[in-house]
């Protein structure tokens, strides 16, 4: 464990993020060459199926070219061929770490087309489940980051938490992963009896375990700091220019959160802070995720304290035929701004569905910030972006 001043100063521990590049003239004179290397698609630290074509000068990356599409399941084409409610299970499988937000975005888009009123209890339950989903996604992503840096313990702690939340979700939705819980017009079913109390006691337990297991264990660790501080450093201008959203944007100090600035559903009634950090490197993204989990706990407690009574599903009739036009639903998923654009032609099936997944956009960053870093720094940078294969490939 580091003392506070060494941790905050920390300069002795950090090394410059930029590797040394050989001057092209010198390279020619001595016959040195850069080599091309494939990383992935089947690489244990690639968060799924991602292939990076790397040009290496020694151990320094000169060029990084991500190749996507290894998990492309044509979600947009499938969605055009299904009735409106039947698209929801498809959206579940986009970002399989944070499914609830994916369903939520699609349902918001269709509800905008239908112009329906959602029962307040349904709105509150949606926000509740969405925040649990965020905890369920952020904690393992911290675990994955540490796993890629060589620490095995945090991933075990992370999956312990994820499992417990999954058990709560199983009691509510009937599924452990592909929930299909949020429906057009509300949610599938009310919370079962006793579940709000169980959620509350789980949160109290999580609050107790959170500091020792995810903060004290990781934050001051010398290896963690030396592998993450200054790595993947970017300026706020660059982040905004690249269209980043979510934690990669907020860790550079730009305050943008869809929940706060484009509020939807129950979030208008909730009191929470947008967590930002100034550093804009991998360590800052870790701190942002830790802060966001705390905010999620705070939000869930507010919702559970004032859970409105009433119906949970609006009656929309048996057959949904929205009016012609555009419906855009935008939510803050665990990875950033997730938007669904549904175009209707007045028939049973959507005419076009476009999913704007945050991972696809955030991954452009790899081309920009990886060059100049050492090869092993790609892992922490992937941890900064925290992409999910299903989400970037759709």
């Amino acid at each position: 464990m580091l003392s506070e001043e060494r941790r905050t100063e920390g300069t002795a521990l950090t090394r410059p993020a930029t590797g040394r590049l050989v001057d092209p003239d010198v390279r020619d004179e001595f016959g040195l060459e850069t080599i091309d290397m494939n990383m992935g698609p089947q690489h244990p630290a690639m968060h799924g199926l991602l292939r990076l074509i790397l040009e290496l000068d020694g151990e320094t990356v000169v060029r990084c070219d991500p190749v996507m599409g290894y998990l492309h399941r044509s979600k947009e084409k499938i969605s055009e061929n299904r009735m409106y409610p039947a698209v929801i299970p498809i959206t579940d499988r986009i970002d399989y770490m944070n499914n609830i937000a994916m369903e939520y975005g699609y349902c918001l888009a269709v509800e905008k087309l239908l112009d329906v009123e959602i029962p307040p209890r349904a709105d509150a339950i949606r926000a509740l489940m969405n925040e649990f989903g965020r905890i369920m996604s952020h904690i393992p992503s911290i675990g994955f980051l540490m796993l890629e840096l060589g620490a095995f313990t945090p991933i075990l702690y992370a999956f312990r938490e994820r499992e417990r939340i999954q058990s709560l979700f199983e009691a509510v939705t009937g599924a452990r992963m592909m929930f299909h819980y949020i429906r057009i017009g509300g949610v599938k079913a009310d919370l079962p009896e006793g579940i709000p109390e169980k959620m509350w006691s789980y949160l109290e337990g999580l609050e107790q375990r959170f500091e020792p297991d995810f903060v004290d264990l990781i934050e001051g660790n010398e290896i963690f700091i030396s592998r993450t501080r200054g790595v993947g450093k970017m300026t706020p201008e660059k982040a905004v220019e690249m269209g980043l959203t979510g934690v990669p944007l907020r860790c550079t100090g730009v305050e943008f959160d869809v929940r706060k600035h484009y509020p939807y559903g129950w979030y208008k009634n909730l009191d929470f802070d947008v967590i930002t950090d100034e550093a804009g490197d991998v360590e800052a993204s870790y701190r942002c995720r830790i802060g966001e989990v705390r905010q999620s706990i705070r939000m869930i407690k507010q919702i559970l304290e004032n859970l409105p009574e009433g119906e949970v599903l609006a009656d929309l009739g048996r057959r949904l035929r929205p009016n012609e036009g555009d419906g855009i639903g935008r939510v803050e998923s665990a990875r950033g701004e997730y938007a669904v654009h549904v175009v209707s032609d007045g028939s049973d099936t959507p005419y076009r569905v476009h999913y704007r997944t945050p991972c696809t956009v955030n991954m452009q960053l790899l081309q920009e910030i990886v060059p100049g870093h050492y090869l092993p720094d790609i892992m922490p940078i992937m941890g900064l972006i925290d992409p999910v294969s299903g989400a970037w490939d759709k």
């Binding site: 599409g69 706020p236 269209g243 701004e337 654009h341 049973d348 076009r352 704007r356 956009v361 991954m363």
Partner: protein, 163 residues
């Protein structure tokens, strides 16, 4: 903070955006409703309109580009956010089977992959794009653009008989 985000009342900002576009460009249609400014432009004006949005009006974020195949024409939607509550939706229609439009990567660098995706899925050619390769599909030996309505899938279903 080095990035200046817009401040002030949402309604005044919306009317500033609407007037800003109307005064500088010949728009086919423009309206403001809720927190949304919707403008319809001719395809040749699109880069200039987006340049106005970013450089003059300070709308910094391009959220996504949607292409809709209207069978005979293509409808492009550029969704912009000022990151503080206002949305600007720019729409344009490209006639014909082989759509071509100027790239906006010089204005919004994030458009790079959005345009690659649109090219991959619909065959929309973005003139001046630095790296117009397919994003998801195979680079070689695949000549289709899968999200076109003319690309039939084998399990096409109709729901006509249902009540």
């Amino acid at each position: 903070m080095a990035v200046t985000l817009p401040e002030g009342n949402l309604e005044t900002r919306l009317s500033r955006y609407l007037d800003g576009f109307n005064n500088r460009h010949g728009l086919e249609e423009s309206s403001a409703e809720g927190n949304l400014v919707l403008i319809v432009v001719k395809p040749q004006d699109l880069p200039a309109v987006l340049a106005t949005a970013r450089e003059t009006l300070g709308i910094l974020h391009l959220s996504f580009i949607t292409v809709v195949d209207r069978q005979g024409s293509f409808e492009l939607t550029y969704e912009l956010l000022d990151l503080r509550g206002a949305q600007v939706r720019v729409k344009t229609t490209l006639e014909g089977e082989e759509p071509v439009i100027d790239t906006v990567t010089g204005i919004y660098p994030t458009a790079n992959w959005h345009e690659r995706e649109a090219y991959d899925m619909f065959g929309v050619a973005f003139k001046g794009h630095p790296d117009l390769r397919r994003l998801y599909m195979w680079q070689d030996h695949f000549d289709h653009h899968p999200l076109l309505k003319s690309f039939e899938i084998s399990t096409k279903r109709t729901f006509e008989g249902l009540r």
